[in-house]
Symmetry: none
Subunit: 133 residues, 4 copies
């Protein structure tokens, strides 16, 4: 099962709405089941450096089917996945990337958000995921 | 002047509508005045290899403020810009990328479309540009 | 608003003057509002490895509209942005990159300096920023 | 012998003057004897895609100590250096890059110009070279 463009746009709209409520300017990326870019939107004034980070968060979340922040717990010095960020042309391992599942708990893609604190990034990404549950 | 997200989304909607009329599955990318990704959408079933091409077409059109196909006329063997495609981490010099102007003829961004013949790619990109004129 | 070449050259001259006062050989890069290189100068004898670092510092400062050293505080092991340097083809997150603002507090570009200690790099960059205030 | 920053800036000033006379907006790069960036200036409104091309022209001219256009004659289909542009992270083999020599005919660096036709690019680069003869 793969995310449709309609679903990806629903997720982005939900994330944009949450960003608006929080007064934030965000980069929002959705990738499909193959970790390839499906849809993307950048709020006016959002950080330029967050384009790549949002896309890498979405990819990272699908690459390992887990929240990006979980990987970051394991990639610290001394951790079991130390410096895993060097793989795949660069992973992002802090919060803001979340797998997207369908009603059958299948991963059909992932969302990545960047533009504020990692807590805000995660919350805005979560809004995109939840609208598809 | 820089394209807004609202304008970028209008352009993508107009291109999606044109693609639907033509029965095509497309990758559609919009970049801002700095050639950075602003919005993106990929129709279900569109070629995976066209994600990067659509984005590179949009960038190329903004890099030189001209339709991508114009560059391709000059980059052929024996042409004055032969192999210019090796610059800028890869240019795409066949049709499908078009600068986006505002009412004052300022370039505010560019659109790139990939997923069919270059004639269709160009026509779908053109629809996105015209809606903002 | 985007930095002009005249402004970029003023900033570089001011940074060169400060470097001369401190007896340092520096690489000095200025990028525009789109994070693209606008002007660059390398003092005779300055480190070759600092060319890329100066440019990446300037880009990083514009990518996130903050001093590069601020990002480095958050990207340490255990920090909320750990290993963010893997994004955007490589960020530099230690001091020496500073956003350039105009009189209306708009970011119009950024400067990056590399060639000495990070304290000296920052001081020389600061001289370039201040001349445009 | 290596080009000094003062010489590089003289070359850029001479090229800027020539560009102004011709009414052109140019990207102008100077590299040293080691083919590393020494100085750079981008006129307001010059093509963004020409930043990389100007730098690559300067590097290419120093890599082989000849005008970039000479290499392009040999890199055509069937030519002896066919597709040499794939080396060195991308060469530019059309006119606009010229080695810089000192009075003893030693190559001390190179200049690369991009932003107009290759004839104009070459003429503006030539002005930069001649001021140092």
């Amino acid at each position: 099962m793969d995310i449709t463009l309609q679903q990806a746009e629903q997720a982005i709209e939900a994330s944009k709405k949450k960003a608006r409520e929080l007064g934030l300017s965000m980069n929002i990326a959705v990738v499909d089941a193959g970790a390839h870019l499906k849809a993307f939107a950048r709020n006016d004034g959002a950080w330029l450096g967050s384009i790549d980070i949002a896309i890498k968060k979405a990819r990272t979340a699908r690459y390992f089917d887990m929240n990006t922040g979980e990987i970051g717990k394991l990639s610290q010095p001394g951790g079991s996945l130390y410096n895993i960020e060097h793989s795949n042309d660069g992973l992002i391992s802090f919060p803001g990337g979340i797998p997207i599942k369908n009603g059958d708990e299948e991963v059909i893609g992932a969302i990545g958000v960047s533009g504020s604190t990692v807590e805000n990034d995660h919350e805005v990404a979560q809004a995109g995921v939840e609208v598809l549950l």
